[in-house]
């Protein structure tokens, strides 16, 4: 878990990895220059650098981000949740940008996501088109990119999650923030870096209202346990 000054959900992700998925977890301070024997790098949610200037604009220059970029280039698994997704876009590890919510207000409510592809290190625990209940908590979650880039993303099967209604229909009404094509989560072209706006870390235990989010973490574990070829 990378902790930037202003990260809040590093605590939540640490808990999910350690207590729910039962895998060893370690905090990485943003000023550190190296990390060794980490299988997955998680950029958690929060308000790195107070979200000043642009969400993630300053965090991407933290010393640790140079290591994260190298780690990603070497094929290491990187997942950015909410603020983490914004940082990955600013750092150029993922295409596009996250703009202000269409409502111009912070938004916190349950959302439903449709699994678009399940042959990836992040979604192999789900069925294709499965509907997941997660939690959105963001003020800048509107995914945007140029029309050409959007076409490339869709054609390249890089869209992993789309906002939908409870029955799995991708509708305008189910789009909480104005994201193009209801995009909620994408991967890079080589498929090892994922960004997701809704919080799987807040939907990993039934007592909190949904356990669907744990599947993303279990998928990554399965990827390493060699259970999955993707």
């Amino acid at each position: 878990m990378v902790t930037f000054p202003g990260s809040n959900c590093d605590y939540d992700c640490y808990h999910v990895v350690q207590d729910v998925v039962r895998q060893p977890a370690v905090y990485l301070w943003h000023k550190e220059h190296h990390f060794d024997n980490c299988d997955v790098i998680i950029l958690p949610g929060g308000f790195a650098h107070g979200d000043y200037l642009r969400t993630g604009a300053i965090a991407r220059f933290s010393p640790i981000m140079r290591e994260v970029v190298d780690f990603a280039m070497r094929g290491g698994l990187v997942i950015g949740i909410c603020n983490g997704f914004q940082i990955l876009c600013e750092a150029g590890l993922l295409p596009g940008a996250l703009l202000r919510n269409r409502s111009l207000r912070f938004l916190h409510r349950p959302v439903y996501l449709r699994v678009e592809k399940n042959d990836t290190p992040f979604t192999n625990a789900y069925r294709k088109d499965q509907v997941l209940k997660m939690l959105a908590a963001h003020g800048d979650g509107c995914y945007y990119n140029t029309p050409e880039e959007i076409k490339k993303l869709e054609a390249g099967g890089q869209v992993l999650f789309r906002y939908c209604d409870r029955e799995g229909n991708v509708t305008e009404a189910a789009n909480p923030n104005g994201s193009l094509n209801n995009i909620a989560g994408i991967v890079n072209s080589s498929g090892n870096v994922m960004g997701l706006m809704p919080h799987p870390d807040r939907a990993a235990e039934a007592i909190l209202g949904s356990a669907d989010g744990a599947g993303i973490f279990f998928s990554m574990v399965a990827r390493f346990a060699g259970l999955v070829v993707a």
């Binding site: 000054p5 916190h108 870390d201």
Partner: protein, 659 residues
């Protein structure tokens, strides 16, 4: 810049009375300097000294087996959760700054109450609020509502604390003077609480966090004078909040406590450096000597008066352990925060302030503080005329034919309608401990590594307090307790925020005294001691006073979180039980207001013994695991309560059949 001449006229301008001005000269044995007069004026303002309320506040029950720190001793009252942990919680008002600049007023209100909690060494785990505005038809009210909600949302969300519960009411009396009360709950290791105290001669005094500017000068006494048109021009003194710096301040503060590097710490709230130095020195029976040349400043040419009274946000005063200075500085360096030693603890019992090599202030600390030299008054009381001339004898008219329409009108009234538009702007689940968030009777938080849960809620029906302050305040305590019981938790203790008009008006002070009496009776009956809180007077605008509004913050503990009960229907075919007796009492109700546009009539009767029995009965049924959900009957009565239970469930909608 020549300092203004110190005389009685200047003292009055700063809010001091003739008698108080003489008392100051008595304490000093000479004329005060301009800076000293400013220090006394802000320390003896209503906001810091509680001079018009402390005599009555002392009559409230403040002991209880579950309490660690008695009210008034620490920044926030602490309740025992289990052998290793205690819960710290408090509520405070930021009404006047929010009337002038709603966004920053509300944001700094949240920032201040969060600091109050983590200055004791507790990590904030939940935030709540209680908001009151004028009529929604008024564009200025909509502007205030939008600004206040954004301010709370942006500050709490960025800081990383979940905003889990609250209440929003709309009443004409709040049009010019909205009420913005912010509450915070924190968790600390038992025995690791930090006191706001200066001890140990020679121990270093640090100012940490943001740099100091001219923000909110006279903020403390600003809160002690009512909103008048001319307060428009002293607006630039509004305080600005920076939640990002506050988050760094939290982490750095908890780190120096964990590493046992400090003796005491206090946040800089109202009256900034003045309040923290004098209160910590007085409590430690010690002295503090500081040099203002060392204080990191954000603006040029600030006078000692301005530096001592500045209310720049996100700053703390830390009393370090001699010899550990380097380690303390390293922690703040890691978190990119100022950490400057500005002086040290002495044994003179005096606050000595140096500026450019000369002494700007030299005052006995004890003479400044509540419980020391600060004045204590017992203003005159007189029963309000509106209560004399029959507002209580107004009868509720006979019900209209179409009761269905009445129910829909009630559900549409802003005081009852869903507040989702508001709480969907709050992050209520960060830290992944929120089992019940906004929209439930009370918020319920799980505690990692324990089966226990904490339930919290803010409550007050100000109409009842307007019509009968004593019974209204008692009902506020009982209603807060009912909400906590409804989720299955046992009410343990309260904090309170007493929002009233001008204490100099005998009719207002009569309602204040009555409300304190009613609150005391209910707290004794329910065994929920008062752990501390806040008094906010002068809530009025040129045309009227606000209703007496004693907001209660209730804390409850649930032993087995799996037994928690939702506030909405869950399963078809289950029986619905009504516990308690229904009497024809609609005085001061929303029904009466929707029907007649009036707030009048007799407030419903309250029998504290029956109340205690009903709460105990419901708690037993819940812990016996035979109840699936539970909801308290309050605004709008039984019809609205049942309707809320049908539509509150996000997953499925329900109906009910009732004879």
């Amino acid at each position: 810049m020549k300092e203004p001449e110190v005389n009685i006229a200047l003292a009055k301008k700063l809010g001091l009375t003739e008698e108080e001005y003489q008392k100051i000269q008595g304490f000093l044995g000479r004329m005060p300097t301009y800076t000293e007069l400013g220090i006394y004026a802000v320390m003896w303002s209503e906001h810091c000294s509680y001079k018009n309320s402390i005599a009555l506040l002392k009559t409230l029950p403040r002991e209880g087996s579950a309490l660690v720190a008695k009210a008034g001793e620490e920044n926030a009252g602490a309740v025992v959760l289990d052998e290793e942990r205690v819960i710290v919680f408090k509520i405070e008002s930021h009404n006047h700054p929010s009337a002038v600049e709603p966004y920053q007023g509300a944001a700094t209100g949240v920032g201040g109450i969060l600091r109050d909690v983590f200055t004791m060494g507790a990590r904030p785990i939940a935030a709540l609020n209680s908001l009151r505005f004028g009529n929604l038809g008024d564009p200025r009210v909509r502007y205030l509502l939008d600004g206040v909600v954004r301010g709370i949302s942006d500050y709490g969300n960025s800081f990383g604390v979940p905003t889990v519960a609250g209440e929003v009411y709309f009443e004409d009396c709040y049009t010019g003077n909205p009420l913005v009360n912010a509450m915070a709950v924190g968790l600390a290791k038992r025995g690791r609480l930090v006191r706001a105290i200066a001890t140990g001669v020679g121990n270093p005094v640090f100012i940490v966090g943001s740099s100091t500017g001219r923000d909110g000068i006279h903020g403390a006494s600003f809160a002690s004078k009512e909103i008048t048109d001319e307060s428009e021009e002293d607006r630039p003194s509004v305080q600005i909040g920076d939640p990002f710096t506050e988050k760094l301040l939290l982490e750095a503060s908890l780190e120096i406590i964990k590493k046992d590097l400090i003796v005491g710490m206090q946040d800089m709230g109202a009256a900034g450096l003045t309040c923290s130095t004098s209160e910590m020195a007085a409590k430690g029976k010690a002295g503090i000597e500081i040099d203002l040349d060392k204080v990191p400043l954000r603006e040029k040419g600030m006078t000692p008066y301005e530096i001592m009274l500045s209310e720049s946000q996100e700053r703390m005063l830390v009393i370090g352990k001699k010899g550990r200075e380097v380690e303390i500085r390293e922690v703040f360096e890691k978190w990119d925060l100022n950490c400057v030693q500005i002086g040290e603890v002495t044994d003179t019992g005096r606050v000595v302030v140096k500026f450019l090599g000369r002494v700007a202030a030299d005052i006995p600390a004890e003479s400044l503080v509540l419980g020391g030299g600060a004045p204590v008054y017992n203003p005159p009381r007189k029963k309000p005329t509106y209560l004399e001339n029959g507002v209580k004898s107004v009868k509720t008219p006979d019900p209209p034919k179409d009761l269905g329409k009445v129910l829909l009108d009630l559900l549409a009234s802003p005081n009852i309608a869903s507040k989702r538009w508001v709480f969907q702007q709050y992050d209520s689940t960060v830290r992944t401990n929120t089992v019940f968030g906004p929209g439930y009777d009370a918020a319920l938080l799980r505690i990692r590594g324990s089966k226990k849960g904490i339930a919290v809620k803010t409550d007050c029906n100000a109409r009842y307090c307007y019509l009968d302050p004593r019974r209204g305040a008692a009902i506020a305590v009982c209603e807060a307790a009912r909400n906590v019981v409804a989720v299955g938790a046992k009410p343990m203790a309260i904090t309170n925020c007493l929002n009233f008009g001008n204490p100099g008006d005998p009719e207002v002070y009569w309602t204040f005294a009555e409300a304190i009496a009613g609150m005391g009776e209910a707290c004794r009956a329910l065994e929920t001691p008062v752990t501390g809180g806040n008094v906010s007077f002068y809530n009025e605008d040129p045309t009227r006073m606000v209703y007496p509004t004693p907001v209660i913050g209730m804390l409850g503990i649930l032993d087995d979180i799996d037994k928690a009960t939702s506030s909405h229907f869950q399963t078809e075919g289950n029986w619905v039980y009504l516990v308690g007796e229904t009497k024809p009492e609609t005085g001061g109700s929303e029904y009466m207001k929707v029907l007649t546009g009036q707030v009048a009539g007799v407030v419903p009767t309250l029998d504290l013994k029956t109340e205690k029995k009903i709460q105990a009965f419901v708690l037993n049924q819940i812990s016996a695991g035979i109840m699936e959900s539970c909801h308290d009957v309050s605004d709008g009565g039984l019809g609205v309560a049942l309707a809320e239970m049908c539509i509150g469930n996000q997953e499925r909608k329900f109906g009910f059949a009732l004879e």
